[in-house]
Symmetry: C2
Subunit: 335 residues, 2 copies
């Protein structure tokens, strides 16, 4: 059979080929003392604290792009959802939906990348499942991951803690992931030296977790920074004021967006944190972030103002512009 | 836009339409005190005990079939993986991969069915994520679920506990799910009154959990009963002897298999348990199962014999036949 080189339907049937696929690709790369591929459910020993859970699907296209791939992205995305909730990631479960015809060497590369990211983030794969989709019923590979972590009891973070006068920080430049994936799609016929910002934000979140004025953190993925701002405005009923000139946007990102007609404030990041803090703790947080390699470009980009539920951009030339909630999808399969 | 009737790419972009989809379909049906769609990670209060986790993908085609649909199947599949590990299910996370063009009314129906199954199984959805796939890059709807449950500390079940002389039970007729899904596919042009056995097996597993001679349980899904028998033979290095005449197979399942050339022993069940017990506790377990509505057809179907690693069928006419491990996939997207 052609199973030497490509994934076939037999790799999803529960029988011999599926066992070989799981043993030779998934378990080979993702093995750890916690992973037992012969059980239906795995026991999770956890350190003390509040148990936190998050789940995410990954459909990025292309599967590999400058700065990452769907394997590392799935780890980073799940780690980051736990991190911005104030938790330390411990375990991951993995679902793979593989389209018939995917090359083994590519799947192998992606799982090796996933394993490397998981090791770097000290998160262990505890359980997994594989399904094979018929040719034309998948997009090469989709992943779904669920992350389990532990949070210090009593830690309170949330949209409901945000107050008028609070400061909004971002940990680095915005829109890099979205722009890099866009460019990686051959259909645009553009080349550039952009790379995704995809990375774990755990060092960033842990650096500011003890500040009493920390209200809320989120990683601005799909829908970008503006979508997080709308979540804040909707929850608080207040006006979010963003400062265009203070918002870090890399020159190549700006260039690609100008050509293709996108606004970087709506593009996905995969390694940034937006944090809202009291104004006095915001400066402490900014200093803590700037001292980290991942936070050198951190900036205060806005404030929670008085006034009704709106997101307003104060433009570089001194004007004001309402930033509407995202409607049409400019970028399917961005993450 | 056509968003009134069909899922569009904008329903996956993180913006206004995605928020409406999550609020009006997913959260409307799956709401519970644990579910907060505004957080990145959810806090999971858990009763005392060992924490157990399992994960599964669901790609069944058609999305609705006699006896179930992909929504209820996802709940039952996840509940069952926890149940056969000896755990009580508590929480579920849900990933939905929706193909552009799926009808809202169907998605709504499937999520209502999922909610009903979750309520019946007393499992709560704690977190979720939605991605939209471009037309031609999905199969209508794929789901991935992760289940979290709690197990009595000290409970030991596993393939490694199986001994020569043990008895193999099955809780009901085999192959119903596989045969029902097959028939539901229009391409076969067959009609029948078959229904999937898809259901929670939790009452079955809990009824025998306290028997000291209980070694191992598994739900025979993809690859059917024979695949579980190969797992047992491989792990124990012993010969598994199945008794054909003792194995409950419904007449319509046998009929469909005869016509289409399948063996019911390799077809998926989604509401059955295979259990291995010491011979003395096997009769107690069989009595306990037969007293339950889900176990009236329970039967002792085989023994762990001496001899090398093989799976042998003792046929109705007094012969013997080796049952090979499943190779080619006869039935993609069966679960």
């Amino acid at each position: 059979m052609s199973g030497d080189r490509y994934i076939t339907l037999a790799h999803g049937n529960g029988g011999r080929f599926m066992r070989a696929l799981i043993e030779n690709v998934f378990a080979r790369h993702l093995a750890n003392p916690q992973l037992d591929i012969r059980v239906d459910a795995a026991h999770l020993p956890l350190p003390p604290g509040d148990i936190m859970i998050t789940t995410d699907g990954f459909t990025v296209q292309p599967l590999e792009f400058p700065g990452g791939d769907i394997g590392s992205l799935a780890v980073h995305g799940t780690v980051n959802d736990l991190a911005v909730a104030g938790a330390t990631p411990v375990y991951l479960t993995l679902n793979a939906f593989i389209e018939e015809g995917l090359e083994f060497v590519q799947l192998d590369r992606l799982m090796r990348s996933m394993a490397r990211a998981a090791n770097e983030c000290r998160i262990r794969v505890a359980a997994g499942d594989v399904k094979v989709l018929r040719r034309g019923e998948g997009g090469g590979l989709y992943l779904a991951t669920t992350g389990v972590g532990v949070r210090r009891p009593g830690l309170r973070l949330g949209l409901d803690r945000i107050c008028e006068g609070d400061t909004i920080l971002v940990s680095g430049s915005v829109g890099d992931h979205g722009a890099a994936v866009l460019l990686a799609r051959e259909e645009f016929g553009l080349k550039g030296d952009l790379a995704s910002d995809a990375a774990s934000v755990l060092p960033l979140t842990q650096a500011i977790l003890d500040l009493p004025g920390l209200r809320f953190m989120r990683d601005p993925t799909r829908g970008g920074v503006v979508t997080v701002m709308h979540d804040i405005a909707r929850s608080s009923g207040l006006t979010v004021r963003l400062d265009e000139s203070a918002t870090p946007i890399r020159e190549p990102v700006r260039g690609v967006c100008d050509i293709l007609g996108y606004d970087p404030l709506y593009l996905a990041c995969e390694g940034r944190v937006v944090a809202v803090l009291s104004s006095e703790d915001a400066s402490r947080a900014l200093a803590a972030w700037r001292a980290l390699p991942a936070g050198v470009d951190a900036a205060a980009i806005g404030v929670i103002g008085s006034g009704e539920q709106h997101v307003v951009l104060e433009t570089s030339i001194g004007g004001e512009r309402l930033l509407e909630e995202l409607e049409d999808d400019p970028l399917p399969r961005i993450c």
